[in-house]
């Protein structure tokens, strides 16, 4: 049984890697966006597993984007390296914020993250000398000179990193720590878990992933701006994806990202201004009617038939 699963994974990986061979530029670009959102959705879910919600993904995504773009532009840093540094910047920022704020949890933390995106956007907006102000900054060229295959592989790597991180969080003792903290912090503490340290750790790692995704996005589109890089899209859509697909798992956000990613392409064509509304509705409906998401609900149904 296990061998079959590994074969399946390898097959999927091969298909994904060789996608550029038999698909056109349009599809690759669609996949680019889906994969970036997938990374964001996974990183959001990883934090949720600890019981905390972040509404600040757009903030860290934008910080990573600006860091990567500005480092490349002003310091001549190699694009790929600048993306990594973008992730680092986001991670460091998250560390500072986490250390300051994570003694409080739940809604206080969530509201702080909500403020984050706004704060970073405003700071960036108000420092035109450094960041190009409200109009943003254009990069001299897109990464890889716009070669869609290489761009795709870059994004695939980012997504793969987030999938790996998610799986590491599922298979190592981190899984136990997160689940305990999520269930009951006092029990977790009494079991020897340093709750604060773990929460800061999770927040930093997930923020770094968001920063890397932001850096990749900035280089692919060759452009950073306060409204574009910190757009609420980057918070709203990943949350909808993770919820729809099913929280607390790797497959959940992946399924959600694929479904919503494909759907959003259609939506953008049919209802050019309504797609954000749909995502909001998805969040509301999912929370009300099937908070486990698709993967979660299927998982529960399977469990029930097994133990009948």
């Amino acid at each position: 049984m296990r061998n079959l699963r590994y074969l399946l994974y390898i097959a999927i990986l091969i298909v994904l890697l060789t996608l550029p061979i038999y698909t056109g530029v349009y599809l690759l670009n669609v996949m680019d966006m889906i994969l970036i959102y997938l990374a964001l959705a996974l990183s959001w879910d990883m934090l949720v597993r600890s019981g905390q919600i972040s509404f600040g993904m757009a903030g860290l995504f934008g910080v990573g984007g600006y860091a990567a773009a500005l480092l490349h532009l002003n310091a001549g840093v190699n694009p790929i390296f600048s993306i990594v540094l973008g992730g680092l910047a986001a991670g460091v920022l998250a560390w500072l914020i986490g250390m300051a704020v994570l003694q409080l949890r739940g809604m206080y933390f969530a509201i702080v993250t909500l403020a984050l995106a706004e704060i970073f956007r405003l700071i960036v907006r108000n420092l035109p000398d450094l960041t190009g102000g409200p109009e943003g900054t254009v990069l001299p060229s897109s990464i890889f000179a716009g070669n869609s295959t290489k761009t795709y592989w870059l994004v695939l790597t980012v997504a793969a990193v987030s999938v790996m991180a998610s799986e590491i969080f599922r298979r190592t003792r981190i899984h136990f720590a997160l689940t305990s903290i999520r269930n009951d912090e006092i029990v977790a503490k009494s079991s020897g878990i340093d709750v604060f340290k773990y929460l800061v750790f999770i927040f930093v790692i997930t923020s770094a992933i968001q920063g890397i995704a932001g850096g990749a996005y900035a280089h692919i589109y060759g452009f950073v701006s306060p409204e574009g890089s910190f757009s609420v899209d980057f918070t709203l859509l990943p949350i909808a994806m993770a919820l729809l697909g099913g929280m607390h798992s790797t497959w959940g956000p992946v399924v959600g990202a694929l479904l919503l990613g494909v759907a959003s392409e259609f939506l953008k064509l049919k209802i050019p201004y309504g797609h954000l509304l749909v995502y909001g509705l998805i969040i509301v409906i999912t929370i009300l009617f099937f908070p486990q998401g698709i993967v979660g609900t299927i998982g529960q149904k399977l469990k029930k038939t097994h133990t009948a």
């Binding site: 003792r173 136990f176 689940t179 999520r182 009494s190 079991s191 020897g192 340093d194």
Partner: protein, 238 residues
Amino acid sequence: MAILKTENLTRLFGGLAAVNHVNMEFRENEILGIIGPNGAGKTTFINVIAGIYLPTEGKIFFNGQDISELQAHKRCRLGIGRTFQLVRPLQGLSLHENVMVGSLFGKGLSQREARKKAEELCEFLGLSDITRDITRMTALEIKKMEIAHALATQPKLLFLDEVMAGLNSDETMEMIDLVRKIHSQGVTIGIVEHVMRVIRELTDRVVVLDWGEVIAEGPYAEVSNDPRVITAYLGEEA
């Protein structure tokens, strides 16, 4: 030799002293009973020792080390374990995994070692043939899982907070035997109980709390006849 000593331990909530200048000693390898009427501060006392609350005044010494300001998870790693009155099994984890949490973090074992230890503990407590989901376990089984979880951290001092609550006569006898088994492994035990039979059979000494203060101390036979204790439980003579 005192494994745990509290000096003038006080914990205030607003103006209320839930733990009021308590001086208590746990001698190594004894079973100490902690009794008192409802609201006397027994669980709060455990919470302060375990580090869930920091003391407002006073000190706690564990094996001679001052742990009064130490964080809860560090106290756990030093060897203080406890169970919870209202058992909340960790959802999303299986029975063994629930127990493993204690080993992984309280003792720092690897996953494989922790799994083995969890299996050993479950057998020790009579939980090994349970394959059901934790949501389908009986009250007794969940309580045993609680204890297994606490034991997984390999405590030197273990607090059992009303583990007998809600058990019938047979189950209580089983639990008493279990506590004796744990004790025979060299664990010092502090047991909070309302069921006096358990206290009478298990404990070497008893401490009585009322309104956060120690009002009596000694073997059960003495304490149960102490007029102050009787008044605390039953109220004044009219």
